[in-house]
């Protein structure tokens, strides 16, 4: 999604949203992440701080607070946390680990294929259903490498072991990662 993204050109406008909209967004994020975020939501998104919604091309919305992109979504889909936020609160999402060989492909924007999640260096300690937001870590690394949505449930990934397992949405060193918001 952010393979090509330029904040100067791709942002059509940004507005400070009404507090009712802010509450709605907050509620949606809370609902989506439940346990993962309950304890930290007040730190991540203080109720009173102004929240800015950046509308970009292709129906991407960025949620910006204090000049930091916190979440983004596509159409009315999931709200994905950005990697910078995830690095601060790594327990927000269920984590899947890919093997070492996959890292360079993921960092080039490739989707994560099932074998990369089932091989020796990889780990899937949690079971998640299809179409849920997950964080991707890597063999031998502490930090989170990418964010994506599962294309099939973790059980299916193990069973089928073919095709795309996780669709990469945002990864290290993509254009969103490099973006510096300055309003």
């Amino acid at each position: 999604m952010f393979k090509k993204f330029n904040i100067k050109e791709d942002v059509t406008g940004h507005t400070q949203v009404k507090s009712s909209v802010q509450r709605a967004i907050r509620a949606k994020i809370l609902e989506q992440y439940k346990e993962g975020i309950e304890g930290i939501i007040d730190d991540v998104m203080p109720k009173k701080a102004p929240l800015i919604l950046m509308k970009c091309h292709e129906h991407i919305n960025l949620i910006v607070m204090n000049n930091e992109v916190l979440f983004f979504n596509h159409f009315d889909g999931h709200y994905y946390p950005t990697l910078k936020l995830l690095h601060k609160y790594p327990n927000m999402l269920p984590r899947l680990q890919v093997d070492r060989g996959a890292i360079k492909f993921v960092m080039a924007g490739a989707n994560i294929m099932c074998p990369g999640l089932t091989s020796k260096g990889a780990r899937m300690d949690v079971s998640v259903p299809a179409d849920s937001v997950v964080a991707i870590t890597a063999e031998g690394k502490n930090e989170i490498l990418a964010v994506g949505t599962t294309k099939m449930s973790t059980d299916d990934i193990k069973r089928i072991n073919k095709n795309i397992g996780v669709e990469t949405v945002h990864y290290l060193n993509d254009c969103l990662w490099k973006t510096v918001v300055d309003l």
């Binding site: 993962g36 309950e38 601060k88 790594p90 999402l93 490498l145 490099k178 300055d182």
Partner: protein, 185 residues
């Protein structure tokens, strides 16, 4: 993640501080997958010796193993690194022009051109100049279609100092002062 022991409870969870590489902005452990490993290494060894020794002492063997296996990969990486290097060099060579343009006999404007090559937000810069010199300042397109900042009044020397102070990445030698006496024929 609800069932794992380190899942966040409802207690207050402090944000983790993650160091980022000053050169490629990645977390240092991912530098090896970035295009500029050598530069990143230099940066890390200067800024965080502890982390450097942890990361690269164990990594050296790994790297040697992988790079031997994939010579093509190395070539690609080298190419990319060279590209970045080139861009940097180009950036360092580009000039910032400060031009004094006469409007009428004793009134003039100062135009600043080329700041955007150093990743300066022109709008912000214009605002800064306006604040600093208490005068009008705006971003305009000149007749070549490039953006430049036009500041009302002759403030060329002050701008020179201000740029140096405010954007230290702009090398002093690259800033040129030009006096354009007879503007428009």
């Amino acid at each position: 993640m609800a069932d794992s022991p380190d899942a966040p409870s409802n207690e207050h969870v402090k944000p983790r501080e993650v160091p980022y590489c000053g050169f490629c902005s990645l977390p240092p452990e991912y530098c090896e997958f970035g295009p500029t490993l050598d530069k990143c290494k230099q940066w890390l060894s200067r800024n965080d010796k502890v982390l450097y020794s942890i990361l690269y002492n164990t990594l050296e063997d790994h790297l040697a193993a992988t790079s031997l296996g994939e010579p093509e990969e190395d070539k690609k990486k080298a190419k990319e690194a060279a590209k970045i290097e080139k861009q940097m060099q180009k950036k360092m060579q580009s000039k910032v022009l400060i031009k004094r343009i006469e409007r009428t006999k004793r009134k003039c404007v100062t135009s600043v051109f080329g700041l955007e090559n150093f990743d300066v937000d022109l709008k912000k810069a214009a605002k800064l100049f306006a604040n600093k010199f208490a005068c009008g300042s705006s971003v305009t397109k000149n007749n070549q279609g490039n953006d430049e900042i036009v500041v009302q009044g002759d403030v060329s020397d002050e701008i020179f100092d201000l740029i140096l102070e405010h954007w230290p990445i702009v090398p002093e030698d690259n800033i040129d002062l030009i006096e354009d006496k007879k503007k428009g024929k």
